[in-house]
Amino acid sequence: MQTFSGLVSVLIVFVWLGGNQVSPLRPICDLRVLEHFIREAQDSEVIMRGCRGGCGAMKSYFVPLTSVDFAFWEHIDVHEQAVEVQTGLSLLVQALSTAMKAVSNSRLASALDNNISNIHSLSQILHSLDLQQARSTVLPDDSAPASTQSQEVSSLPELLQVQSSFLRGKVRLLLSAAPACQRQNS
């Protein structure tokens, strides 16, 4: 009887510890991963500048807004920031996928494919930070973006520039300011 109660108490302790775990994933706070993605996005821009044929038709893409006003950004809640970032990443994935279909240059196509996989990884990283954003918020292809947090670009070079700016700006600011990472640093 006493051993049984002891076992039960031990089990309760384990359940309590297990319950206290916020996220099943460990937060990925190392910004070097994001920096790696940023460099690869910049590599795509370089390839695009050197592309001579089969570089994609002129097409309009809906892309997120990338501008950051530091004063304004600091006043936004982290979760709102997370939502904005996640939405923007979804838009980018869509646009890049569309563009890749129209690109016949193999080198450019592989670069675009790399960028798409990087953005998917970023989504996972944001998920690990547990910012309580909606999961898998990839919008349907034909649906028009409702928010004003998008813009239209008319060429692939612009699209790639937007991607680079977005990653360097909003995504990075969010990751560096994530509470989970702040707790680890302090």
Partner: protein, 519 residues
């Protein structure tokens, strides 16, 4: 109360002014630097979080109130205007117009345009995050390390949010007074250890910062003010050096003392003397200049005490001492033999190789004795019959075996090793001991080729062995000088024989009574 308030206000105002001037100094220095380095018409940079774009005043225009219009737009929005200001650079005596954007959008392309009098002067599209112009790092400190040739440098990054972890630093260090400096690049970290420095040297250290180029890009900041640092002196403390020198000196003195006290011994070991026989021949080299004959003539008596053996190729000849032989009878035979002896003598002289025989003259007494001995040899039987031994004279014959002949005789001779002894007695019988000593050849001195040994007269029955001609006899007489000892040296014999004539009266007395032995 009001006075205090006004004082406070004044203080605040002064502080603000100071801050602005300092900031202005920073701003002015940045503008000045970009004015030199940047090639674009519109030069833009971001200080803290605001983008500033400036352009140089055209030389043609002197009117300060020119209407410059600065507009900017981004993300397809409407153009926005910015207030243009002017700045006079004291260092270069130039005037620039600049505009600081109130809310600078980052991570998006910015289109800026400058208009003058309605006409567009300059235009440019840029991303603000690529033109960060940071302030210099703060609080640069240089500390001496415990390790030799090492300095620890640390600083604080400029005050700027969001990009603390994307800064890259450059540390420059040089020996004080030298222009040759080295540069170390370090990422993110605000501490650095400089290695491989010279010990006990003063170094100047500078630091500057730049965005790392991944998320943010920009220009190198200005160098900080130099900070001095001194490296640790080398391990060889001067005190230790002095101690080592002192101990070394003491050891040297000790070794010198030891060497000096035993210098003779050491000298002998290291530089041994070449042995010379000088101590055996006193005066030979110093007085007689190596003339051995001269030296011998002066120092013969004292030298015989030292047995100097001269080994020649010839076999040593034994020396036998004959007993005394009385020279009473044998007159006629003596005369007959005298001639024979004379002939023999002549033969001997002919046979001789050296000139010694010329000088050697048998004393008359010896001649008689020789004659008598010869007679004895020819008639050994007669000797055995009647023999009277008289003391006074001792006859010595020497036996020298020629090389290769009569080896048995040699063996007999060599069996005895007793030293030669002669007793001289005035009366009675004499006991003589024959002995064979290590005699060297007397060939040279006596001028004969063959010598034969004779047995002692102690045993009267002993017969004389017949010998051939060519004997050399050395007669030893009692000259009253005491005991004479025969030595084995050639030279000794010669000298001895030379001295024979000095026997003086004794011999002369004998000459008259040269009688043969009574057989």
């Amino acid at each position: 109360m009001t006075k205090m308030r006004s004082d406070r206000l004044k203080i605040v105002f002064m502080l603000c002014l100071a801050f602005i001037t300092i900031g202005g100094q920073h701003f002015e220095s940045k503008v000045a630097q970009l004015l030199r380095d940047e090639t674009e018409d519109i030069k833009c940079f971001v200080e803290v979080k605001d983008l500033t774009c400036f352009w140089e005043e055209e030389e043609e225009r002197n009117n300060l109130h020119d209407q410059y219009t600065f507009t900017y737009s981004y993300e397809n929005k409407n153009k926005m205007a910015c207030v243009v200001s002017s700045l006079s650079l004291l260092a270069s005596n130039k005037t620039v117009f600049y505009c600081k954007l109130p809310k600078t959008p980052f991570f998006t392309p910015l289109d800026v345009q400058v208009f003058r009098d309605g006409r567009m002067l300059y235009s440019r599209s840029l991303n603000a995050e690529n033109f960060l112009f940071l302030d210099s790092p703060r609080n640069l400190t240089v500390m001496s390390s415990e390790k030799e040739g090492q300095l620890n440098v640390s600083w604080l990054p400029p005050l700027l949010k969001y990009i603390d972890d994307s800064m890259i630093y450059e540390v420059r260090y040089a020996v004080e007074g030298s222009n040759m400096g080295k540069v170390e690049v370090i990422k993110v970290s605000t501490m650095l250890s400089l290695l491989g420095l010279q010990p006990d040297t003063r170094y100047k250290v500078w630091v500057r910062v730049k965005p790392d180029g991944v998320a943010y890009k920009g220009y190198w900041s200005a160098w900080t003010e130099p900070v001095l640092g001194v490296t640790q002196p080398s391990d060889m403390d001067p005190l230790i050096m002095l101690l080592v020198l002192f101990i070394g000196l003491i050891l040297c003195l000790l070794s010198m003392t030891v060497i000096m006290s035993h210098h003779k011994f050491l000298l002998k070991k290291l530089w041994p003397d070449i042995p010379t026989p000088e101590h055996k021949f006193p005066g030979l080299f110093t007085i007689y200049k190596g003339d051995f004959k001269e030296w011998m003539s002066q120092n013969n008596g004292s030298m015989w005490g030292r047995s100097v053996h001269v080994y020649t190729e010839e076999l040593p000849s034994p020396l036998e001492v004959l007993s005394e032989v009385s020279l009473t009878s044998h007159g006629t035979s003596q005369r007959e033999e005298r001639q024979a002896v004379e002939e023999d003598e002549e033969k001997e002289s002919e046979r001789s190789d050296s000139g010694l025989t010329d000088r050697w003259r048998e004393p008359p007494e010896a001649y008689c004795l020789v004659e008598q001995l010869r007679a004895l040899q020819e008639n050994p039987e007669s000797l055995s019959q009647s023999l009277l031994l008289q003391s006074h004279d001792t006859y010595v014959t020497l036996n020298q075996n020629s090389q290769g002949d009569d080896e048995r005789q040699v063996d007999d001779v060599f069996e005895e090793t007793l030293p030669l002894q002669m007793l001289f007695t005035t009366a009675g019988t004499t006991s003589l001991n024959t002995s064979h000593s290590d005699l060297s050849s007397l060939q040279q001195s006596l001028g004969s080729g063959r010598l034969s040994s004779q047995s002692s007269f102690e045993y009267p029955n002993h017969t004389w062995p017949p010998k051939g001609p060519g004997y050399a006899y050395v007669a030893v007489t009692d000259s009253g000088l005491g005991r004479h000892r025969m030595y084995t040296n050639d030279y000794k014999n010669e000298i001895f024989l030379h001295k024979w004539p000095l026997s003086g009266q004794h011999t002369q007395s004998r000459s008259e009574s040269c009688m043969g032995p009574v057989w």
